[in-house]
């Protein structure tokens, strides 16, 4: 371990050595104007949404006001009100915050499951890999949307954590497959063999040596997954199987559009949420694509 540390210190000091993975990622991101713009936009949205939602009171916003049902945008309500007389603009901000939070939570949980699964399968290979891949194949083939909906509706005490767990349990397969194929290549390399010869334990090799070496792949995949998860969460909330109306998400606002009257005449309720979901997903994806290019030296722009 000590020898490792010395190496890292040396690398950052010596300019003739190749730059570290994180620095390559960052350089590519700055070179790609679209990705940089997306990153700045995302940062602004995140700061604004989390900042403003500290001042806003979620309970106050979701309180039904029967005297202000379906009001058009005005000075009192910038984006009008919904069928319960609730301020759409406030819901939009809180919804964005909730959608982002859940997206990040699901990405992290499914990432942890997927990374551990993929690393173990790829590192040990052989029969272990074979068995684990059959399990993965099975999970991948399950009808994801339906099972999540069924589980959401039968879980007794339904919380945000429960929702993220349910989603994560059915969405770790993509990242696991990627990590596994990378770990299969990685374990043939000399440093793994050397560590084995030195008697380092498998757990230590997997998580302290192999995992840091594929960290750029992990970062890229998780960024792209975040975009997908924001979409999936809002889709489930749209169907009514995500958050309850008392914790609005962007999908909740869109679900009001299943009322034909709202869809046709009250665009201010659902169009901003739709645009925001698209902007969020595209921005996260732009950043992710730039990072993905950075991990492949043939595709780099910088």
């Amino acid at each position: 371990m000590e020898a490792n540390n010395v190496n890292i210190v040396e690398q950052t000091q010596d300019p003739s050595k190749s730059p570290s993975g994180l620095r390559i990622l960052w350089r590519e991101l700055v070179r790609d104007k679209l990705a940089l713009f997306s990153l700045i936009l995302l940062t602004l949205i995140v700061v604004f949404v989390y900042g403003v939602s500290i001042i806003l009171d979620q309970d106050e916003i979701v309180t039904v006001d029967l005297f202000a049902i379906h009001e058009a945008p005005s000075e009192d309500f910038i984006l009008g009100t919904d069928y319960g007389g609730r301020d759409v603009f406030g819901q939009l901000i809180i919804g964005t915050r909730n959608s982002l939070t859940i997206g990040i939570a699901v990405t992290l949980i499914s990432g942890i499951i997927g990374i551990a699964f993929g690393l173990v399968a790829g590192y040990f290979g052989g029969h272990t890999d074979n068995t684990m891949m059959r399990v993965l194949d099975f999970f991948q083939i399950l009808p994801f949307t339906m099972l999540v909906i069924v589980f959401v509706s039968i879980v007794p005490d339904y919380t945000i954590l429960a929702f993220s767990l349910i989603m994560a349990v059915f969405s770790w397969m993509g990242i696991a497959r990627l990590i596994r194929s990378k770990a299969l290549q990685e374990k043939e390399l000399d440093y793994v063999q050397a560590s084995k010869t030195l008697g380092t334990s498998n757990t230590k090799i997997i998580f302290r040596e192999v995992m840091p070496n594929i960290s750029s792949l992990i970062i890229v995949t998780m960024t792209l997954n975040l975009a997908a998860n924001i979409g999936i969460e809002s889709g489930l909330s749209f169907l009514g199987f995500g958050f309850p109306e008392s914790t609005p998400s962007l999908g909740t606002l869109l679900s009001y559009a299943t009322n034909p009257q709202t869809l046709e005449f009250r665009w201010w309720i659902w169009v901003p949420a739709a645009v925001l979901i698209l902007v969020l997903m595209l921005a996260v994806r732009n950043v992710g694509e730039a990072l993905r290019r950075a991990t492949d030296s043939r595709q780099r722009r910088g």
Binding site: I141, M146, S153, G231, S234, I277
Partner: protein, 320 residues
């Protein structure tokens, strides 16, 4: 090749069995049973308990599972307490609607994907290619339900070109020409919405496949022999790239499944997806289980089909 197919089939059976066990366990976790819905003051609690015993509801779980599977094999999914009819009958109508929707979607998907992919691959790095690539980039990031909502808003409500809900105009006689046209008309917008999003991955795949194949030696040979440009593309390159695409259609089934849930909800199209959503809201669990099982088995068989076609098309997969 037979060896591969047999081995692949051997994996499929455990998958289906596991799926059925999973759904069965889910069903056990769902609150209530077949008799909870019976609110009849003439049936006392003791009688209910006796009925439960007779129906086998108090049996150990493995017996119940065997009973359940036995019923399904004979086409008996139980009773829907909401519609008061056997689930099998209920499914028949809905299944046909979803089948037509899926078929139309696949048709549109390939009708769009093949020309777009070929143009994009053949004239890569031109303006035409970058607009197609731009479309695939956007389409990849757009969630289906938002796109479908916008399609419904624009073409259904604002322009009024398409009907906005249902699968057929009520009052038409089944089998008549108007009936068929009306059915088709109701299918068009949902199928197009789904296809416009689904086609994106196929276009991307076909494009990169063609760009790759363009530089292969057999293409250079074909050109050197004096084959015309259109012959090189239509006979040599296209044939090589088309087969994997044809094989992928089995995998498309899982996309279709989650797609139908959203699209049927948005367009009010009475298919399996809408039935699933309605049933789960009303806690009509025998219907829910049947739909999940049918869709799950469809996805498993779709993947099986794709793998087999792929193994025929691409010998490298067989060797592994």
């Amino acid at each position: 090749m037979w060896k591969f197919i047999v081995r692949r089939l051997l994996i499929t059976f455990p998958q289906i069995i596991l799926l059925s066990v999973l759904i069965f366990l889910m069903a056990q976790a769902m609150p209530g049973d077949a008799l909870t819905g019976v609110i009849d003051p003439n049936v006392s609690l003791e009688e209910k308990e006796e009925l439960r015993e007779r129906l086998g509801l108090n049996a150990p779980w493995h017996e119940k599972y065997a009973d359940w599977v036995g019923g399904i094999v004979q086409g008996d999914f139980g009773q829907s307490f909401r519609f008061k009819m056997p689930v099998t009958e209920l499914l028949e109508q809905r299944l046909m609607n979803s089948f037509w929707l899926s078929l139309m979607t696949l048709l549109f998907t390939y009708l769009m994907a093949i020309p777009l992919g070929i143009i994009s691959g053949r004239y890569n790095d031109t303006l035409l290619d970058s607009s197609i690539t731009g479309y695939t980039y956007l389409g990849f990031a757009t969630p289906l339900f938002i796109f479908a909502l916008v399609m419904l808003w624009v073409f259904g409500y604002q322009l009024g070109w398409f009907p906005t809900s249902g699968s057929v105009t009520p009052g038409l006689e089944p089998g008549s020409m108007e009936y068929v046209i009306s059915k088709f008309n109701h299918l068009l917008l949902p199928a197009l919405s789904m296809a416009l999003i689904q086609t994106v991955s196929t276009v991307q795949y076909l494009r990169s496949e063609i760009v790759d194949t363009k530089q292969k030696e057999f293409v250079i040979t074909a050109r050197a022999k004096g084959a015309s440009e259109s012959r090189v593309y239509n006979k040599h390159i296209f044939r090589n790239s088309l087969l994997p695409i044809a094989a992928f259609f089995g995998y498309e089934i899982s996309f279709l499944i989650s797609g139908t849930i959203f699209v049927e909800k948005i367009f009010g199209y009475p298919g399996m997806g809408l039935l699933f959503l309605e049933s789960i809201l009303l806690r009509d669990y025998s219907v829910v289980n049947a739909v999940v099982l049918i869709f799950g088995v469809a996805a498993i068989l779709g993947a099986l089909l794709s793998d087999i076609i792929l193994s025929i098309v691409d010998p490298r997969i067989r060797i592994k």
